[in-house]
């Protein structure tokens, strides 16, 4: 139980990752797929942020008054925060591209259901052959 309590954010991150991944793979609605992708990415950010957080420490910003007594144990690790920021940028741009494809698909097929789209394409293929 104590392991569970001390690793709460990691457990939450893994559960969210599972939810996001299964949504991305299994949902039929394209918008739901994109929401799943975002849940998945956010869970990774939670995992990273939890790794970077250390109790009772402050942000790693050195001011002039600190210069006399810098103790690295006082500061949190800044690298995970940097990784989270990079990850957010990537995730936002990927979401934007995906949404733009969804808009084009909706204009072309008038549906958001990926199975329906594939069915329409198969039908077109068959008509093409005849």
């Amino acid at each position: 139980m104590s392991i569970f309590l001390s690793n709460m954010p990691e457990y939450a991150a893994m559960i969210l990752f599972g939810i996001g991944l299964s949504n991305l793979m299994l949902a039929k609605n394209l918008i739901k797929k994109i929401i799943g992708l975002n849940i998945m990415d956010t869970s990774v950010f939670l995992f990273l942020a939890a790794k970077g957080y250390v109790d009772n420490t402050i942000a790693p910003i050195v001011t002039v008054s600190d210069l006399g007594h810098i103790d690295s144990a006082l500061y949190t690790n800044p690298v995970p925060a940097g990784l989270v920021l990079t990850g957010i940028v990537v995730s936002v741009s990927v979401t934007a591209v995906l949404l733009s494809i969804v808009v084009r698909l909706n204009e072309e097929f008038h549906t958001l259901d990926i199975d329906e789209i594939i069915r329409i394409l198969r039908k077109r293929d068959r008509e093409d052959l005849q």
């Binding site: 990752f17 996001g20 991944l21 991305l24 793979m25 394209l30 797929k33 992708l37 998945m40 990415d41 990774v44 995992f47 990273l48 790794k51 690298v79 995970p80 990784l83 990079t86 990850g87 990537v90 741009s93 990927v94 591209v97 995906l98 494809i101 969804v102 084009r104 698909l105 072309e108 097929f109 990926i114 789209i117 594939i118 329409i120 394409l121 077109r124």
Partner: protein, 507 residues
């Protein structure tokens, strides 16, 4: 420090800068800029390869001269330089070979957007080849995903949109798994640079700590990257995406993009996790088994295909199986055979896709078998390219494919047990199947039109024949592709030497 050592960093930066410039330039200027930038990068990487061939050792290049724990690093060796030169040369040739299609598929207004995607795609592939930092690798994996989907959907009909959506979703699942695996490795070792992680992992293994997280990280890395490099059974997205795209997009996707992820996977297994730990790991056995299944299943699917570009796409799944079979054997001879296959398949498949574009031009834009009958006579360049490609894929001596199969069998013989027997059986089966479907394609491509043609079909074919516009650029690209294939086949000793020396510098 020799000035040629700056090539890796500058080739990545030049491609990025030119990509951004293409956004604002008019279309002719952006086309010229893209060609010049890729040619320049190819020349630089060949110079770097020559520098290594003169006996230089692999080196680490710190970006901005900031040292190891904080800065970002590139690492260049002979293998990296060879792969980077190959990637840039083939990108240039694919662009040239499919240029006429770009005009008709994408439209003149948007062509400079296509060049942005291409330049960033090449940039991300070179970055994956050269980087020594895992998180940089992740960022460039995502750039690669976006631009690869960009060049698929640039054609903008219903097929490519749906295909690129599926491709995008599968790629994103792959990069999500890759990201979480990087996070786990960072959490247990505290490093992001590959060589530092390897030290950390070796230490943890020696002390017997964190076994489970390391196992999970290796497994997730393997699954994530095999999703992106279309290892069977994760390859369901590949035939649609590769067959519906424009000719030069298909050539680049099938020839290069898959290989860049495979190269990254080899790099992570051998430089991040370490050779000793990987060889005793079950992931390699899984890759071997799925590679073997892929070799057979890809060929079986290709047998029943009646669409030239889908057939080539299924054949790619089979050929990717060979690469994973080589990696899965786990010996350095196996990895060398896999690298030979990377080079051979990149040249051959890119040429075949460009030639398929030519055949489609000679058949009124259709890629169905009944329409491309006799297309090899209407467009002799594509016909000759198909003959060369078939000979190489089947594995006739003096062509690239022979070297792959020979080195793969030699590597398989040295490993013991079930791996040996299974992989040799799979190579034989897959070779026979490959021969059947490629020779079938050749027969169709060169078959004379049916004995009693109806008036309508004859008229149609006459019209198609008139439409074949053999522009010099396409002819030039096909001739260069054929020369490249023959060179690889004839200079196989030198290729093997580069690869084995490169692999010894790799770890």
């Amino acid at each position: 420090m020799s000035p040629v050592q700056n090539v890796p960093a500058f080739s990545i930066l030049i491609l990025m800068l030119c990509g951004i410039l293409c956004l604002v330039l008019p279309r002719t200027a952006s086309r010229r800029l893209a060609d010049c930038a890729i040619a320049l990068v190819a020349a630089g990487n060949i110079a770097l390869l020559l520098y290594f061939l003169r006996g230089a050792d692999a080196y680490i290049y710190s970006m901005g001269e900031i040292g190891a724990p904080f800065g970002n690093e590139l690492r260049a060796g002979m293998l990296e330089a060879a792969v980077a030169s190959l990637f840039s040369i083939i990108t240039l040739l694919s662009l040239m070979g499919g240029r006429a299609h770009l005009r008709s598929d994408i439209g003149r207004q948007k062509v400079n957007l296509y060049y942005i995607s291409t330049l960033f795609l090449l940039c991300s592939m070179l970055a994956l080849v050269y980087t020594n930092d895992l998180f940089t690798a992740y960022v460039f994996v995502e750039i690669n995903t976006i631009t690869a989907c960009g060049i698929v959907m640039s054609k903008e009909d219903g097929y490519t949109l749906a295909a690129s959506m599926r491709y995008f979703i599968m790629s994103l699942v792959g990069s999500g798994l890759f990201l979480i695996s990087i996070c786990i490795l960072y959490a247990v070792t505290g490093h992001l640079l590959m060589s530092n992680i390897q030290e950390g992992v070796a230490q943890l293994y020696a002390q017997g700590q964190y076994r489970a997280p390391l196992q999970v990280a290796i497994a997730l890395m393997g699954v994530g990257l095999s999703l992106k490099s279309a290892l069977w059974p994760f390859s369901s997205w590949l035939p649609d995406a590769h067959s519906s795209a424009s000719a030069s997009s298909s050539a680049m996707l099938s020839g290069l993009v898959l290989k860049s992820f495979i190269f990254l996977m080899v790099k992570i297994f051998y430089r991040v996790i370490g050779v000793g730990i990987m060889r005793s790991h079950a992931v390699l056995d899984l890759l071997l088994v799925f590679g073997i299944l892929g070799m057979v299943m890809g060929s079986v699917n290709a047998l029943f295909e009646r669409d030239i570009k889908r057939l080539l796409a299924y054949s790619s799944i089979g050929q990717i199986g060979y690469i994973f079979c080589g990696i899965g054997l786990g010996t350095s001879a196996g990895v060398a055979a896999a690298m030979v296959q990377v080079a051979v398949h990149a040249c051959t498949k890119a040429m075949l896709f460009c030639a398929a574009g030519g055949l489609m031009d000679a058949s009124g834009g259709s890629k169905k078998f009944r329409d491309i009958e006799g297309a090899g006579r209407r467009d002799p360049y594509a016909g000759v390219a198909f003959i060369v490609g078939t000979l190489s894929m089947v594995g006739i001596p003096f062509f690239g494919g022979f070297i792959t199969k020979l080195s793969l069998v030699q590597a398989a013989v040295t490993v013991g047990g079930w791996r040996n027997l299974l992989s040799i059986l799979a190579i034989i089966t897959s070779t026979i199947l490959t021969a059947i479907y490629y020779i079938n394609v050749l027969a169709i491509v060169f078959r004379a039109p049916e004995t009693a043609p109806t008036k309508a079909s004859e008229k149609l074919r006459e019209e198609w024949k008139k439409q074949v516009r053999l522009d010099t650029e396409y002819e030039f690209a096909i001739i260069l592709f054929i020369i490249l294939n023959l060179t690889i086949g004839l200079q196989s000793d030198r290729l093997m030497q580069i690869i084995t020396t490169g692999l010894s510098m790799f770890g």
